[in-house]
Symmetry: C2
Subunit: 408 residues, 2 copies
């Protein structure tokens, strides 16, 4: 197997290191990935990526979520281009904001209204602010280890964060009703809301879908206390159920935060809310220079129409099921014990007895050399542009990957 | 003078009211403007806007800052389109991130490195986080009434904000050295940094450029205490001096926050920093789903190259001077006493003896009816697409506006 060429990537990393601290920031920093992974990308098409050295990958990270329909989806790009010819960032919104808001309210089960932002963190922060404004209380219950953004109140890192930034967070364990009730008790009369991910997708751990019991407990606590149930749909949104990831559980939130896939890669986020939160949402001051940008909204309208028309979550589930079954079969052929967790549309694959992720890294490096981009620790993402041939290619590469791990 | 048509705008507001709390959020909410102002826009071209009813305005808000070179600037759009054909939101940055970072570091006086975000608030929040990480301290000095973003730690509204969100802010008065020194004394050994706007541009007040004495005092305090001097360039950036708004004062910050104009309307923000903050910047966890988006970066490269090649700040200063002098002359013709403040590239016009802004609103309504979009309370923005004919049109409209105010 030839080594992947990394000449151009290496040269860019060297230049980047001089002008960007450590060459890159945040979740896209290649230093957190196996050595063979590229930092810089040249091109995307559908569910396929090319790095700057021309290496081609069937991509199962999908931009860490935003790529839902495939890069350069014709309907999305046409809608964006049409809006772009008129204008993007004006002195107020364009008509498309109303069209998008009506579509979101129509699609999302609990939504009576919506507001738009740019980052997922904007949406989660806005939800917390609205919940506090509506209740006049301060405590927000959050699951230990959950990711809700990268600003001081919720960042996974404590560096540069003051204790006061998290003064009013109270922690519970995902899917643990008892711990949720205990946290609510701790919050007491000051409970403003419960913020919970659509499912548990903590970095490096097995994923968990919420149990109906847990979802109902969260709803019951909020109802009993007049607090707001907030679902963080930033990562899961539009991949599990376009009406809301908890719709199948029969539990609806008061507020949800959306971003990533909502405009198929265009920068957009949204908060959706129920009528009882509408006044508070109209009174808090939340804004950004580009939040009314019309091109991303036009892209979102096109994206969501395709999601609904083509039942994208069902397509992803079908492809994801093929991938999961194929990985299970092939890992067994090599006598390897793997754990696949979470919804099949957003799979996580971890190896048993792999505390330092040595197996995971070797597996992913081997996959990458065969042209398939997997992540060794984080949940992955399918997109509607993936084909059965792409899944077959991934399984072929995985067979190679498992053989490498088996030989470790 | 015929009334402006508002049929379509009214219909959209009615629809928006149903699906967006109060029909719009934040600084672009038309409810904060005189009655005649539109909420929804159809099109932008250069320095001109059309609302959804087809009314045309020479625009002096420029999207509240982002429109620096004019809507649909050919070089910016071409660069963005070229990048778009390759890809935008990938699994990591494209080569253009390095090109942009090198350009920013080359242009901005104090910058040894840079990082990119989406919102101005992302950039100011990142600066504060880096300052705290670098110093291991918590207190940030900020000017009373200054705007640094719309999240709990800095929002102009306290609704939904807990006292702890601002536990480590200490307030001073802009341009008041004594108050700055007193604030530093209050912060004591816990001083992490001073965050200050490039100039004082508080909403509804006369603007103030910083005095050299004030700027030097801020630098001296930070040097003496090992704290970080942070300039918020989000609003002023690239309009006063592309190397940094304080370059003319001979004072350089340790960190600056940029956004708005940096990519001529494409959503982008940046932090620039000096080498002594590089380690902290590489260690804090700051990220967003779209922060590595390549199209906005390509737009920024093109924008900044034009800014440098054409000396855009100088062009804006020349046009702004014409506008300021013309407004002064015409207001006097009507015996009106107005106050024009701040840099001419970002003018604020307020009427004397106008506590409820009745004069300002009447003036702006009259301007709007003559096809010129002014703001009655907020600083305005010039763009490089404005021509001398646009300034003349604004002055003609202003003459009408002053006549209306004189007759109140």
């Amino acid at each position: 197997m030839p080594e992947l060429s990394r000449t151009r990537d290496a040269a860019l990393r060297e230049r980047a290191n001089k002008v960007v601290p450590s060459g890159m920031w945040g979740h896209l920093h290649a230093a957190k990935l196996p050595d063979a992974y590229p930092q810089f990308f040249r091109r995307g098409e559908g569910g396929v990526l090319w790095d700057v050295d021309g290496n081609r990958y069937v991509d199962f990270m999908c931009s860490w979520g935003p790529n839902l329909l495939g890069h350069h989806h014709p309907e999305v790009e046409e809608a964006a281009e049409r809006q772009r010819r008129d204008g993007d960032c004006l002195n107020g919104p364009a008509e498309v904001m109303v069209e998008l808001a009506e579509l979101v309210v129509d699609m999302v089960g609990h939504a009576d209204w919506t507001q738009f932002q740019k980052n997922g963190t904007d949406a989660t922060t806005t939800c917390v602010t609205i919940a506090r404004a509506a209740t006049g209380r301060r405590k927000i219950l959050v699951a230990k280890g959950a990711y809700h953004g990268a600003v001081p109140w919720c960042s996974p890192s404590l560096l540069g964060v003051a204790a006061e930034d998290r003064a009013h967070l109270v922690y519970f364990t995902f899917n643990d009703v008892e711990s949720l009730e205990a946290a609510a008790k701790t919050a007491g009369d000051d409970l403003a809301g419960i913020l919970v991910s659509a499912f548990r997708h903590d970095f490096g751990f097995d994923q968990q879908l919420p149990t109906a019991e847990f979802a109902r407990a969260a709803r019951r606590i909020c109802d009993g206390r007049g607090a707001a149930l907030i679902i963080d749909e930033v990562r899961a949104g539009f991949r599990l159920n376009a009406a809301g990831s908890w719709e199948g559980l029969g539990v609806r939130p008061d507020l949800s935060a959306w971003s990533k896939a909502i405009a198929n890669g265009y920068a957009l986020a949204a908060v959706t809310g129920a009528n009882r939160l509408r006044d508070a949402a109209s009174q808090v001051f939340v804004t950004g220079s580009f939040w009314a940008g019309a091109v991303a909204m036009a892209a979102a309208v096109a994206t969501l129409k395709v999601v609904r028309r083509d039942d994208v979550p069902a397509r992803l589930a079908r492809l994801g099921q093929l991938l999961r079954e194929g990985l299970e079969t092939r890992s067994r052929q090599f006598g390897l014990s793997i754990r696949q967790s979470g919804p099949v549309q957003m799979p996580t694959l971890l190896f048993d007895d792999d505390p330092d992720c040595r197996k995971g890294f070797a597996f992913c490096n081997a996959m990458l050399a065969r042209g398939v981009y997997f992540h060794p620790k984080h949940n992955m993402f399918l997109c509607a542009a993936h084909s059965e041939a792409d899944i077959a290619a991934a399984l072929d590469a995985a067979e190679h990957g498992f053989s490498v791990v088996a030989a470790l």
